[in-house]
């Protein structure tokens, strides 16, 4: 029984706790327990490492932990729920950069002894580097420090191709002579640059996929770093996180009916600019008073939230309206499209924040069969995910994308600022349907207006 053995035993316990944590996330009833178990596993792993006997000095560790804890706690407590996507992107970036630094230290101190060591080190700094800068760009776009629109420049593909080729060629040179510190640094630099070019052309509505892919990469980096420093726990955890990112990416891509390569390299919003042709119909607007009268008589209502709801911060107003509708004898459900918002599950978190019980949140597949029986479907800040063109118009860029069948409801309200097109740059024919009524204006003000109407009527 030596120290090494004991530390590895604790790592096994930690792995079990991490896996159980994820298992308990399978239901909202047990999820908090899962989070606690996972945190406990992390604490055990840290304590075991601290007392493993490998460590000589502690002053830098203490400094690092103090800084990290202070910043982490500050950011986590301050972040608003609408800021979750950027928070997650920031965390991806930090994890990846930490991995790169660990790799770098290992290389600086020990070098790379054999070919497998050099290969894992190479993979680790390439993926770690591009994940770090890619996440920083994603964070910038999500927090609107960088324009969310796809940024394209002439020769972008050529630059990207050049970067890939350089990284591969330099990589081969590095593998043949792993002692070349200069090559190590150049590869790292190019990978950082590549991460920027990879994410900058991707538009805001494709962010759910980008975040999922970066999440997967951050797991892969932890994994490769595990190979670099021969640590089994890093490999286990990296594999779990990598699998998580892959699953979420697949779900997001399916929900947009697009392939991963198309999302990552297609720059959807910029390339596809299709003008709606055919006769110009008129969308019918409706006043708040009339909308209220229809809602007052509704027996069932479905609310479809989109990114616009997050932008307008309308979630609390929506909850109030939902409660008033229920008090009025109306059955209220919320229909959530998988890619609504800027990351997987974004809308669920916002509505949960507004105290809407999760039983009222319905997934696309479970709400669609019910849509024909619904009196009023209210679309708040969503556009492409309710465009019926995806079902029948083969020329539409979103043809084949699964949507929430809002148009099947008896009356459809669309809360929107103007008649502008959605992210895909296409007209939404739903707006011109006979059963559709537009309510123009800021989503929050509109919903608050409806709430006021209900309150006045109750007096």
């Amino acid at each position: 029984m030596n120290n090494e053995f004991f530390v590895n035993l604790v790592y096994i316990v930690s792995s079990i706790l991490f896996a159980s944590g994820l298992k308990f996330l399978g239901s909202p009833l047990t999820a908090r327990k899962g989070n606690f178990l996972s945190a406990l596993g992390m604490l055990l792993a840290i304590v075991a490492t601290l007392f493993s006997g490998h460590l000589i000095s502690f002053q830098w560790i203490i400094l690092g932990i103090v800084i990290g804890t202070a910043l982490g706690a500050f950011v986590a407590v301050r972040a608003a729920m609408t800021q979750m996507p950027e928070m997650i992107a920031l965390l991806h970036g930090c994890g990846a950069l930490a991995s790169v630094f660990v790799d770098w230290t290992a290389y600086h101190v020990h070098g790379a002894h054999d070919l497998t060591g050099a290969i894992t080190l190479y993979l680790s700094i390439v993926i770690g580097g591009l994940t770090f800068t890619g996440s920083v760009i994603a964070w910038g776009k999500l927090s609107e420090r960088i324009p969310g629109k796809p940024l394209l420049f002439a020769g972008q593909r050529i630059v990207n191709l050049g970067l890939i080729i350089s990284i591969v060629v330099l990589g081969i040179m590095f593998l043949m002579n792993p002692a070349r510190y200069d090559l190590f640094l150049i590869i790292l630099g190019l990978s950082l640059l590549f991460g920027i070019f990879l994410v900058i052309p991707i538009g805001g509505a494709d962010m759910p996929v980008v975040i999922s892919v970066l999440n997967s990469y951050s797991g892969v980096v932890a994994c490769t770093t595990g190979f670099v420093i021969h640590n089994t726990l890093l490999i286990v955890v990296g594999a779990l996180v990598g699998a998580n990112g892959i699953i979420l990416s697949i779900i997001m891509c399916k929900a947009m009916n697009r392939s991963i390569t198309n999302v990552l390299f297609g720059a959807f919003g910029a390339v596809v600019k299709k003008k709606a042709d055919g006769e110009k119909k008129d969308a019918k607007a409706v006043s708040l008073e009339d909308a209220f009268l229809i809602l007052e008589n509704a027996k069932s209502a479905v609310i479809v939230p989109g990114y616009g709801l997050a932008v307008a911060q309308a979630q609390h107003a929506v909850r109030e309206l939902g409660e008033l509708l229920e008090k009025n004898g109306c059955d209220v459900k919320y229909a959530i499209h998988p890619v609504a918002g800027r990351m997987p599950g974004h809308m669920n978190v916002l509505l949960a924040e507004a105290n809407i019980p999760y039983e009222q949140l319905y997934e696309m597949d479970s709400i669609n069969p019910l849509m024909e029986t619904v009196d009023v479907c209210m679309i708040i800040g969503a556009n492409d995910v309710v465009n019926p063109a995806s079902r029948h118009d083969q020329s539409s860029p979103i043809y084949g994308m699964p949507i929430i069948n809002a148009d099947k409801a008896k009356t459809v309200f669309v809360l929107k600022r103007s008649m502008n097109t959605g992210f895909a740059g296409i007209e939404n024919e739903l707006f011109y349907y006979d059963n559709t009524r537009m309510i123009f204006g800021d989503a929050k003000q509109t919903v608050q207006g409806l709430v006021a109407e209900f309150k006045n009527a109750a007096k």
Binding site: F18, G21, L25, G26, P28, A31, R32, G34, N35, S38, M42, I46, T49, L50, H54, L55, I56, W60, I61, G64, I67, G68, L71, G72, A76, V77, M84, M87, I88, L91, H92, C94, G95, L97, A98, F101, V102, W104, T105, H108, N215, S218, G226, F227, H230, L234, L240, V241, A243, G245, L248, M343, P344, G345, H346, N348, V349, P357, Y358, E363
Partner: protein
Amino acid sequence: MELIYLLFILVLSIFLGFALISRVPPLLHTPLMSEANAICGIIIIGALIAAGAEATSTLTIILGTSAVALATFNVVGGYLVTERMLKMFKKKESA
């Protein structure tokens, strides 16, 4: 042999990951992601070794300390933010 043994662990862990995560409902996908961020902070055990045993030059001190700080940021930020989100998911009150 060491490499084969590590690959063995990797492959089984990937299967475990797929099995566990495909059971998480879309409702909890955002907390799932922040949870993944938090456990990704496990890189901290590598960072501890870097900062505690290999910080012998200015460069390694900077790298090691930054790695510990960044990984701690992930762990603390990830778990706290997950907890904050999960706390909000409520069942309907039986009023």
